[in-house]
């Protein structure tokens, strides 16, 4: 097998996923096109060498439908020969796109491939693609479907994490993200989004609230009580009867933000990099995906990490930096406790609680953030993972070259 290398990683800033968000006026297509243009411009890339473009997108309907990857390649001015495929692994779609791109390179199918993702949650709301999983009663019954928020609260209840525990985690995420921006730690990967006139529409993550304190969070109402009362709480208890009552500790301030954004990561063989004058920044050490209980849904990260590290003959101690998507605070708290990951190696520059989680794009965003941070902090290895809908988990390990 050939080694797959990362040559570049870019992302848009994340705009608030609302009608008054800075990116609401920008089409989803434009978001992914702008990061693809950045990849090609920054690297003076002859795109004819790109064999495939894999784009993660969780709600591939309306303007995100009809294989947005191929559409984006064509609209970004890439060579007509560049194929494109849209994939969904729910919240890990962006990382899965990178895993596929890397695997294509490693297998010899591609010499150069791009993985990335896009989600305009303000324009195509979460759940727009419906699907059998939540809607077909037979699936709902067989898998004990409940929304992610209920799963997050259930994890906190099972683990004994209080509202104060999850809020403290959220405050720290905001602090770290603010510090990272202040110190320019995202400088290398951020591609400002431009509007129809070419003017900058957004150049900084819009969702952050650096002034967040325990006190300011204390005033927020739990977000998932209503869904629990509508029946989903009962479903969760039928699956986890050891719980008398779910403690609803998550709210808008300690859950990932709903945002718009896009990302792209350029993979290739060392040889192709040399031919095109690209410097490898990191090597893909391995990747994996798993499934776990679809109902609680968010317990995949530790499981996939154990599987991947086991296969690579590594242990948690061999990893310098962890990036786990901050879907909900309890998800990160659980992985840190289960695998004994120190907090100062986990999401060192904040995460989705502060900056938002543009579903299909996030995986490639946090992979890029890990590569940037390895270089900045002069460390060697990073593991990137996300919890995924229906109980899956996806991960990649990279090492700095």
């Amino acid at each position: 097998m050939t080694n797959a290398y990362i040559f570049d990683a870019v992302r848009t800033p994340r705009g608030k996923g609302r009608k008054d968000g800075a990116l609401h006026e920008i089409t989803a297509l434009s978001l992914i096109v702008q990061v693809l243009e950045a990849i090609s411009d920054r690297n003076a890339l002859d795109t004819a060498y790109v064999d495939d473009l894999i784009v993660g997108c969780v709600s591939p309907v309306s303007e995100q439908g009809s294989d947005i990857a191929r559409t984006a390649a064509l609209m970004a001015g890439y060579a007509e020969s560049v194929a494109g495929v849209q994939v969904s692994r729910f919240c890990a779609s962006g990382l899965e796109a990178c895993n596929i791109a890397a695997a294509k390179v490693a297998s010899g199918e591609a010499q150069l491939a791009i993985g990335g993702g896009v989600e305009s949650m303000s324009r195509i709301p979460m759940g727009s693609d419906r699907g059998a999983w939540p809607t077909d009663p037979s699936v709902s019954f067989a898998t004990s479907f409940v929304g992610q928020g209920i799963g997050a609260d259930l994890i906190a209840t099972l683990d004994g994490h209080s509202r104060a525990d999850v809020d403290a985690y959220a405050v720290e995420s905001q602090r770290r993200a603010a510090r990272a921006w202040t110190e320019g730690r995202f400088h290398r990967s951020i591609v400002p989004v431009r509007d129809q006139l070419g003017l900058i529409a957004l150049d900084r993550d819009e969702h952050m609230r650096p002034q967040t304190t325990m006190q300011s969070l204390a005033g927020l109402e739990p977000a998932f009580t209503k869904a629990a009362d509508a029946g989903f709480g009962a479903v969760a208890l039928q699956n986890y009867p050891q719980i008398e009552r779910i403690q609803h500790v998550h709210h808008a301030g300690n859950s990932s933000g709903i945002v718009d954004g896009a990302s792209a990561v350029l993979f290739g063989t060392r040889k192709m990099g040399q031919e095109l004058g690209l410097s490898p920044r990191a090597r893909v050490v391995g990747a994996a995906s798993i499934g776990s209980d679809p109902s609680i849904m968010l317990t995949g990260p530790a499981a996939v990490t154990s599987k991947l590290l086991g296969r690579l003959g590594m242990s948690v101690r061999d990893i310098d930096l962890f990036e786990l998507n901050e879907a909900f605070a309890s998800v990160v708290l659980r992985m840190m406790e289960e695998l004994h990951v120190p907090h100062d190696q986990m999401n060192v520059n904040g995460g989705a609680i502060a900056m938002g989680h543009p579903l299909g794009a996030t995986g490639a965003m946090i992979l890029g953030a890990a590569v940037d941070e390895l270089e900045r902090s002069d460390r060697e290895t990073a593991l990137v993972t996300l919890c995924v809908g229906a109980g899956m988990g996806t991960a990649m390990v990279v090492e700095r070259v």
Binding site: R130, P137, S140, F141, G231, A234, P241, E244, R245
Partner: protein
């Protein structure tokens, strides 16, 4: 044709009268279906017919639905070979296809409903192009199939959502609650509501003036109201609906699960395909053992018992003119209320006139509630109260045909009022004692006429609880039993007959559920698991919360009484020590003093008391599937084995009574059809083996009784044996 009469007026309007011969109520019999085929053919082909209207030949309604006896026989079929399934599909689809032919016959079809249309009756109406319902007080429109474990198979799961949208249709389909003409109109499943007697005229007017022969769903561009399952407005009915169904049913009812599925799949395709999907789910549902058990218990057995079956033969019908009730507390007042509601002159007696009047005031409150809910006319309420005579004078009960004593559970007191009453009663009057715990034969010792002395165990609240447990004492006569059955029927309750034994049937078996909950607690199972799994078995509440509701000190007293009465034969339970620790060690008496197994914080939901761990340390805290299965099995099997023991000991002799009584008295998981049906469903031999295993691990309380071993050895079922003995 025997079931239908077709007449054609000069206008070309045809009137089709549905009137099944030899039955008081129309049901869809195989014969009626055969003739319905002819009717549809005639409507379609007779050029003299311009349009038609269906009416009933019965005064009490149009049609009560399918013949459930036939459905019961076809339920839980074991043969699921491809040939059998194809054949069954053809047979099951027949009525549905006829209705489809009717609504696509090209001529307008109306229906004039002057009385109830349930199940297949309403499905027939839904296949008509125009539905008029008269505003009769007894009008009932509904699809009650789910309540007996079945799925509407005549298009009901497809037409109703297409008429009113899935979100509005699903509650009617899943819960089977029948509605009035006005509610049906505002929900959108009838076109017009008229005064009684005017339905036919309204239907004919529509046929003459409008007469659109095309159903909405057969018109181009039709969309399901509210949208399909994969639209923003249509999806919550399924996404949230599935969660709500599961919250309510714990997935114990395959009929309801299949109904939701049939609606989900069906409304995404055209009607003909939708009806095929419905037929498939209809058959799948009918094949479940739950359908078989529920049809038998919830419909057949319940109806038979409500009619007083089996009543001792040769006793003249009991004509009740006047009846006395002694003790005007909650129970006595409730009994007086149901008697008066049934038109019986009632004497309500207590120690003081004031107390008796207080009891009557309770009846007046019940009357007010009924009037407020529109279920009783003012005049009827006044008449009802006029029949209740509150008094402190035993002379007033003279001339009563029956007297019910409902004083406190105290032997001496009961003996005293028995003597006082008997002094005033005629030789043939029945004396019924309302007790839930005290053996009748012992109480009868206070009676001078033990042949006429019988136990009549009412359940609280009397006005709402359908069941009455009749306890036959050692000396109670056959005539006394027959009269008591007549009395219970007269007050519109469902009786079960049991023989005298401690706790009789219902209290004895119900107590095993709560006691087993505490056994599990003592075995180290986390209390939340006991409660959650208890509810998941289909029981209405968890065992520990039920204990709290009954009151822990009261149960201790009953146990103490039993210990004194039984001496060496008393079998201590693990729960005794736990209850003793809670009541006497911690002052926790249950909900009534705000602390029991639970804490009851003001303004917040109750919470399991953390201190329970000090009484019974938790060693099994993970709700893994194996533990859940064990808890579920122990809670259900413990009750079932006790019911079987009652049958084996002759405390109860009729399996139907055991099953109906269990569901009506203590809410035993209705999906099972009752504890004995559950044993048959599991298989008697398998149940005996499981109980032997449980007895070895948990104690002799699980030991299967000799009768079950006999049946297991024969290889039959409890119900087959009962049928053989009856034959």
């Amino acid at each position: 044709m025997n079931n239908f009469t077709i007449t054609i007026a000069e206008s070309g309007l045809s009137t089709i009268v549905f009137d099944v011969p030899g039955r008081s109520m129309n049901t869809i019999t195989p014969d009626a279906v055969d003739e319905f085929d002819e009717v549809v053919t005639r409507i379609a082909s007779d050029e003299g017919i311009r349009g038609c209207v269906f009416v009933s030949g019965k005064a009490n309604g149009f049609c009560a639905g399918a013949d459930l006896g036939t459905q019961g026989e076809r339920a839980a079929v074991a043969d699921t070979s491809e040939t059998q399934l194809r054949d069954e599909f053809e047979r099951a689809a027949r009525f549905s296809r006829l209705l489809r032919r009717l609504e696509t016959c090209g001529k307008p079809v109306a229906i004039a409903l002057e009385g109830l249309a349930l199940g297949g009756g309403l499905e027939t109406a839904l296949a008509c192009h125009y539905r008029v319902a008269a505003r009769h007080p007894k009008m009932k429109l509904g699809l009650p199939e789910a309540t007996v474990g079945l799925l509407p198979g005549g298009g009901g799961t497809q037409r109703l959502p297409r008429l009113i949208g899935a979100a509005k249709a699903l509650p009617y389909l899943l819960q089977g609650r029948p509605v009035s003409a006005d509610e049906a109109f505002s929900a959108g499943f009838v076109h017009a509501v008229v005064d009684p007697g005017e339905a036919l005229g309204a239907a004919e007017a529509w046929l003459l003036n409008v007469g659109d022969p095309v159903q909405p769903w057969d018109k181009p561009g039709f969309v399901v109201p509210g949208g399909g399952p994969h639209t923003p407005t249509g999806s919550p009915a399924f996404v949230n609906g599935a969660a709500q169904l599961r919250k309510r049913t714990y997935l114990n009812y395959p009929a309801q699960t299949n109904i939701l599925q049939a609606v989900y799949e069906g409304i995404q395709v055209p009607m003909d395909a939708a009806l095929r999907i419905e037929t498939r789910y209809f058959i799948r549902t009918r094949h479940t053992p739950e359908a078989k058990a529920m049809i038998r218990t919830q419909f057949q057995s319940r109806q038979a018992l409500a009619k007083g079956d089996p009543r001792p033969a040769g006793v003249a019908p009991f004509d009740i003119g006047k009846a006395g009730v002694i003790g005007a507390g909650m129970m006595g007042a409730g009994i007086a209320y149901v008697q008066a509601a049934a038109g019986i002159e009632t004497v309500l007696i207590d120690v003081t006139r004031e107390q008796a009047e207080k009891g009557k005031a309770h009846c007046a409150a019940l009357v007010r509630k009924e009037i407020e809910r529109g279920r009783m006319e003012e005049a009827a309420g006044e008449a009802l109260l006029g029949r209740i005579h509150a008094t402190d004078d035993y002379a007033d009960i003279e001339g009563s045909d029956i007297v019910i004593e409902a004083v406190f559970e105290d032997r001496a007191l009961k003996a005293r009022v028995t003597a006082l009453a008997e002094a005033r009663l005629g030789a043939h009057a029945v004396f019924g004692t309302n007790t839930s715990t005290l053996p009748i034969t012992g109480l009868a010792e206070a009676s001078m006429r033990a042949g006429n002395f019988i136990g009549i165990h009412f359940f609280s609240p009397v006005d709402r609880m359908e069941l009455v447990e009749i306890i036959v004492g050692k000396n109670s006569s056959e005539a006394c039993l027959a009269k008591t059955l007549d009395y219970v029927r007269r007050i519109r309750k469902t009786p079960i007959v049991v023989n005298d034994s401690r706790g009789f049937y219902t209290s004895r078996c119900f107590g095993t559920y709560t006691a087993e909950g505490v056994e599990l607690l003592v075995d180290g199972v986390a209390p939340a698991i006991i409660e959650n799994v208890g509810r998941a078995t289909g029981m209405p509440r968890g065992p520990l919360e039920l204990y709290d509701d009954v009151a822990l000190d009261l149960i201790l007293k009953v146990r103490e009484q039993a210990r004194r009465d039984l001496g060496d034969a008393f079998e201590p339970r693990a729960s005794d020590a736990v209850l003793d620790a809670l009541v006497n060690g911690h002052g926790r008496c249950g909900r009534k003093n705000g602390k029991g197994f639970y804490d009851y914080p003001a303004g917040a939901p109750k919470q399991l008391w953390p201190g329970l761990a000090g009484i019974a340390p938790v060693t099994r805290a993970a709700g893994d599937p194996a533990l859940v299965e064990e808890v579920r099995t122990r809670l259900l099997y413990r009750q079932a084995v006790e019911a079987a023991r009652c049958l084996s000991e002759g405390v109860i002799t009729d399996p139907r009574a055991a099953d109906v009584g269990a569901i009506l008295a203590w809410g035993f998981a209705p999906w099972t059809g009752g504890p004995l049906s559950l044993i048959d469903m599991i298989g008697v031999a398998a149940f005996v083996a499981a109980c032997d295993d449980l007895a070895a691990r948990c104690g002799p309380r699980f030991s299967p009784p000799p009768l079950l071993r006999e049946i297991a050895a024969e290889g039959g079922s409890i119900y087959e044996r009962a049928a053989r003995r009856a034959a």
